[in-house]
């Protein structure tokens, strides 16, 4: 993004506002759904999908990941792999418990 010109930035500003409105709308949606008394598993799935969409919007546009260099993606892919290990290895350990 270091070569971005002032004209491009003006276009970006419109995108930022759109993302901002989308984030607020998704917040209202997820709060509303939480009052619908869904059973636990679908409630968790829906809430995490909405949170992931919001998170992707922030990372892609506010942190302008969509136009970022390859090296950052490489570092982030590695991070995702380790993050998933961090989340799932303890779960595997639980399913393997001796009763």
């Amino acid at each position: 993004m270091e070569l971005t010109h002032a004209e491009d930035v003006k276009k970006h500003v419109r995108v930022y506002v759109t993302v901002f409105v989308a984030l607020l709308a998704l917040t209202i949606v997820t709060v509303t759904i939480s009052y619908l008394n869904l059973s636990v598993v679908p409630a968790i799935i829906v809430a995490l999908i909405i949170a992931s969409i919001k998170g992707s919007l922030v990372a892609s546009y506010f942190m302008h990941l969509i136009s970022e260099k390859k090296l950052i993606f490489a570092a982030l892919i590695l991070t995702v792999v380790f993050f998933l290990a961090l989340i799932f290895i303890p779960l595997l350990a639980m399913s393997d418990r001796i009763h």
């Binding site: 993004m1 270091e2 971005t4 002032a6 930035v9 003006k10 970006h12 500003v13 930022y16 506002v17 993302v19 901002f20 984030l23 607020l24 917040t27 209202i28 997820t30 709060v31 939480s34 636990v40 409630a43 968790i44 809430a47 995490l48 909405i50 949170a51 919001k54 998170g55 922030v58 990372a59 506010f62 942190m63 260099k69 390859k70 090296l71 950052i72 570092a75 982030l76 590695l78 991070t79 380790f82 993050f83 961090l86 989340i87 303890p90 779960l91 639980m94």
Partner: protein, 194 residues
């Protein structure tokens, strides 16, 4: 000694150094918060019952909106510098700091309410992980506010001498601030809604 590649991209990485630095730092932050989310899952699976909607959802929804708003003011402060508008930069950066402060004030009311009701971290597994996760997140908000206040105040002198370097600094501070917002986007449903 001059710090290398503060403006121009390093040929081998294609990035100015601070940008690669902040992304690697954020990657380590993912692991820090990831460990806590992992703990949360284990604690929740291992518990007999888990409270639903015991926290103040409307207040936290307002706080989510406050933090999201602070994210757009942050990106607008950087965009203002890209358009060489220093006055607007000061306005947006000032708003970002104030919104961060607003977030902490609301959090303070939430915390004191819990303390008065005897809902201390020792009250239950839920409150233990709630205070750990929101407490660590709150510390990150305070850290970001300190950096942003510096760049709003004394640190902004650099705009006159090295405008491009200063713009890059705001971009990097922004990446951190958006990350703090991103963590909250996941904390909010996990702790308040589910």
């Amino acid at each position: 000694m001059e710090i290398p590649y503060t403006i121009k991209a390093r040929p081998d990485t294609g990035l100015f150094n601070a940008k690669l630095g902040i992304w690697l730092f954020l990657a380590s932050e993912v692991m820090l918060f990831g460990a806590l989310f992992s703990s949360y899952i284990l604690l929740r699976i291992g518990s007999v019952e888990w409270p639903h909607h015991v926290l103040d959802v409307p207040l936290a929804t307002v706080n989510t909106a406050v933090l999201i708003t602070s994210s757009i003011t942050m990106v607008m402060s950087w965009a203002s510098l890209m358009m060489k508008d220093f006055k607007k930069y000061r306005l947006y950066m000032g708003a970002t700091v104030l919104l961060g402060f607003g977030f902490l004030i609301i959090k303070y009311f939430e915390y004191t309410h819990h303390f008065h009701s005897g809902e201390l971290p020792s009250h239950s597994t839920f409150f233990a992980i709630y205070f750990t996760m929101t407490g660590l997140h709150g510390l990150h908000v305070i850290g970001g506010m300190i950096v942003n206040s510096y760049f709003w105040g004394p640190g902004s002198k650099m705009w006159k001498t090295e405008p491009e370097r200063f713009t890059n600094r705001i971009e990097v501070a922004g990446l951190y601030w958006h990350f703090v917002d991103l963590v909250w986007i996941f904390l909010f449903p996990v702790l308040y809604l589910l």
